[in-house]
């Protein structure tokens, strides 16, 4: 019977929606500051006139496209187009700088398709079962998960661990600015309504990543990206070679992305960071990560596109949005009068399955469309003279930041953070730990306060932090992740000592 839903998804109108959605998504996601959430929000009113399944296909397609498009600016301008693409900058930009930007874009396309398909297939086959994962994670587990995320800093800032931790502390501090969700206190606003809304994550991203690149672009005479002589076409064969060799990395990252997306409150940025550090940990070429290692891009782009399908799992089954764009899509469904829940997969199967097949089609469309649009984006970035590129990107950063919350103060905060970020960069502080602190701070804080309140109600605070297998597991991983660099250092030390011994 499910074939009829596949056919329903294949109507010319639905195909057109998927096509238009993916194209619009790629372009919006590719522009710094215009995120997937915004792309979906803008498109929601358009879908009200459509059948629920068609509307969902369009929103799913634009979401998929935007998450993928975020890789372009990450690779070519070192600025994550969407928060999900933060980790793509780590290896994408170094690749582009050395002349492999086209290869990086093709790698991102291949892995995005693999990740997107994995997430959508999980949604198609295992949704009701996987949705229960969302209910296994409570306040305590989110607190530990955020702490685990913070331990990634030591992995991400190897060689400059102390600077990494200083950066993360700055990020955590920035995350407390504004009205606290839990507790309602107004913090660090210095009596001004300017800081009431806090530091918005995407504007911080734009400031910390993009502004330093812009300053360097203007301050140095070198071309923005080197153009490799052999560069011709999509370099698809080369990219396929890398992808096949790293198929386990891609699949593992896609599974991580799917599962992280099921947890409400996490999302693409955390999924790609976790899969990046996993790829790095298990790679034989650990030291090449951060220098332009294709495996880094394969991991992050596979993971963040898997969050699209994964995030729909709790959204459609439980009515709990998995990622921020899902929250908007859920609202759109309610306006349409479609109630989420298990019956969406039984009584309203025509809506849910038609949509899921539509999402699969949109993901397949990513491959040809991504390659073509990506090629165009790459060509324009390398051929546009710096005198035009710099002001264009600068203009986009301001517009993009303003558009997030229609707030001028966010632009000011973005610029201040950008200049600060440039100085910090020169002093060896990377932007990623700061952003990580900013993203994880509120998750950790809210989880902690909720757990303490619950513990007080039960009359014992400490035991609640170790209340079940999930929290034990996460705590164990935290301990291992924290001690691992130390352990590796000791082992390396012993090895060199042994080697020195045998040489004598």
């Amino acid at each position: 019977m499910s074939w009829s839903f596949l056919l329903a998804a294949f109507t010319p109108f639905n195909l057109m929606l998927a096509f238009v959605g993916v194209a619009a998504g790629i372009i919006i996601g590719g522009l710094p500051g215009l995120s997937a959430t915004m792309a979906v929000a803008v498109l929601v009113p358009v879908t009200f006139g459509m059948e629920p399944a068609s509307g969902l296909i369009m929103l799913g397609a634009i979401y998929t496209g935007a998450i993928y498009g975020g890789a372009y600016s990450a690779i070519l301008v070192n600025t994550p187009g969407t928060p999900s693409a933060i980790a793509t900058t780590f290896d994408g930009y170094p690749m582009a700088k050395r002349g492999d930007g086209d290869l990086a874009v093709t790698l991102a396309t291949l892995s995005s398709v693999v990740g997107g398909l994995t997430g959508a297939l999980a949604l198609l086959t295992l949704a009701p079962m996987l949705a229960t994962i969302a209910l296994q994670f409570g306040s305590v587990e989110y607190f530990w998960l955020a702490v685990l995320g913070l331990t990634l800093i030591s992995a991400l800032s190897e060689g400059a661990t102390i600077k990494g931790f200083i950066g993360a502390s700055l990020g955590l501090l920035l995350s407390t600015v504004g009205v606290a969700v839990v507790g309602g206190d107004v913090r660090y606003t210095f009596g001004s309504s300017l800081l009431l809304g806090g530091v918005e994550i995407i504007s911080a991203l734009i400031g910390l990543y993009c502004i330093p690149v812009l300053i360097d672009l203007v301050a140095t005479p070198d071309p923005h990206l080197r153009v490799s002589e052999k560069a011709s076409g999509f370099r698809l064969r080369e990219a396929l070679g890398y992808a096949l060799r790293s198929k386990f990395n891609m699949i593992r990252s896609a599974i991580i992305g799917t599962i992280v997306a099921i947890l409400p409150g996490a999302g693409g940025s955390i999924a790609s960071l976790v899969s990046y550090s996993e790829a790095r940990r298990s790679s034989k070429n650990r030291e090449r990560f951060g220098q332009g290692e294709p495996d880094g891009i394969l991991a992050t782009e596979s993971a963040n596109n898997a969050t699209v399908g994964g995030g729909f799992i709790p959204t459609l089954v439980l009515g709990i949005p998995g990622t921020p764009p899902d929250a908007i899509i859920l609202g759109a469904l309610l306006v349409q009068g479609v109630r989420t829940g298990p019956e969406l997969f039984t009584e309203n199967a025509d809506i849910s399955y038609t949509f899921i097949y539509g999402l699969l089609i949109a993901t397949f469309l990513l491959l040809p469309m991504g390659l073509v649009i990506g090629r165009y984006a790459f060509k324009s970035i390398i051929s546009i003279p710096k005198a035009i590129l710099a002001p264009t990107v600068a203009f986009m950063t301001v517009i993009g930041t303003y558009a997030i919350r229609n707030n001028v103060w966010d632009v000011l905060i973005m610029l201040v953070l950008g200049v600060l970020g440039w100085f910090l960069n020169r002093a060896g502080f990377k932007p990623s730990p700061i952003v990580l602190g900013l993203i994880l701070g509120p998750i950790a804080e809210q989880g902690f306060v909720q757990a303490v309140l619950m513990g007080q109600a039960q009359g014992a605070v400490l035991p609640i932090f170790f209340r079940g297998p999930i929290s034990w597991t996460i705590v164990a991983i935290i301990v291992i992740a924290t001690l691992y660099p130390l352990f590796a250092m000791v082992r390396k030390h012993r090895q060199t000592a042994a080697k020195a011994g045998s040489d004598e």
């Binding site: 009113p45 309504s193 908007i328 007080q456």
Partner: protein, 318 residues
């Protein structure tokens, strides 16, 4: 885009169709900018989205929704009076937010700065438990709270929010002590309920409407039973004088002409009477009220008295 002639014609046709001769049929003369001080996808957004098409039916103009989130709404409200005051810019306002926020701290606006012209519905406060909860009735829950004060935990959205106000007021009315645990948004609060992390949730009938399969509403704080939940008693029926919830209205910037404000009040009043709109709102669990421009002051004064009492319980004011 639309010619002035068409606009006038559309306005005239609408007035005729409604059987009312409206003098200001040339207002609104262009699209309305409808600011929502929260992000998309929430109840403020959803209810505004439902108004949208009926606004177009009546006026021939579009109501364009813009999101300006931040600071629990405070960012948008504190900047609103700088917006153009020709009647074509309105903002969604929420209770208790616009009363409690300025009471508690300096958020850059005072309640009276907001020129409300209509309150159109509220999401009635409600107590929800998981479907498999041992508490079948409100009385069961109250008894459990009496036996072990503080041990019953409620999830809810945010601190000093409508949920928090309801929890504080109910504890006082019932003479019990419970623990309120704030979450970021209704979605997180209902997740905590479903996962069994908390005993119950202070939510709304709208939450119960969206999660009918695995939650049970014990009581609703509307003035009468909700059409969608004919079997769920109101708090008043059970002997607790609790009525209210998260009210939603709309305001114009300071200096907006009085006629424009009146006309907006009429338009949104008319939307509130549309049977299809009423049905769609009720399906989602909302409870409609009609507080037009002339009655807004009295309505706000009443709410204010209630919230000040709660603010005292919160130790926000003396």
């Amino acid at each position: 885009m639309k010619s002035p002639f068409m606009t006038v014609l559309a306005g005239a046709v609408t007035s005729l169709a409604m059987g009312t001769a409206v003098a200001q049929s040339d207002f609104p003369s262009k699209d309305l900018s409808y600011i929502i001080p929260f992000g998309p996808g929430g109840e403020s957004d959803i209810s505004a989205r439902l108004q949208q098409e009926y606004f177009t039916d009546i006026t021939g103009q579009e109501a364009v929704i813009e999101y300006k989130p931040g600071g629990g709404g405070a960012v948008a409200w504190s900047q609103f009076n700088d917006m153009p005051a020709d009647g074509h810019t309105i903002i969604g306002t929420n209770l208790p937010h616009i009363i409690l926020q300025p009471l508690a701290k300096d958020v850059g606006f005072e309640t009276d700065d907001l020129n409300n012209f209509y309150f159109f519905h509220y999401s009635p406060d409600a107590i929800l438990v998981p479907a498999d909860s041992p508490y079948q009735t409100l009385e069961d829950l109250v008894e459990a709270a009496e036996e072990a004060p503080g041990s019953i935990t409620f999830s809810g959205s945010g601190t000093y929010s409508a949920n928090h106000v309801a929890q504080t007021r109910f504890d006082e009315l019932a003479g019990i002590t419970t623990t309120y645990i704030p979450y970021k948004g209704t979605g997180a609060a209902v997740t905590a309920l479903k996962s069994g992390e908390v005993s119950a949730e202070w939510g709304y009938s709208t939450v119960a409407a969206n999660h009918q399969d695995d939650t049970r509403m014990l009581a609703i704080a509307s003035s009468e039973r909700h059409p969608l939940f004919p079997d769920v008693p109101t708090f008043q029926e059970l002997g607790y004088d609790l009525e209210g919830g998260a009210y939603r209205g709309m305001a114009v910037p300071e200096g907006t002409p009085e006629e424009a404000k009146q006309r907006l009040s009429e338009i949104f009043g008319e939307i509130n009477q549309d049977p299809e709109f009423v049905e769609r709102m009720q399906e989602l669990g909302f409870f409609l009220v009609d507080v037009p421009a002339d009655e807004v002051d009295d309505f706000l004064a009443e709410r204010r008295a209630e919230y000040e009492e709660v603010a005292r319980a919160f130790d926000l004011i003396d």
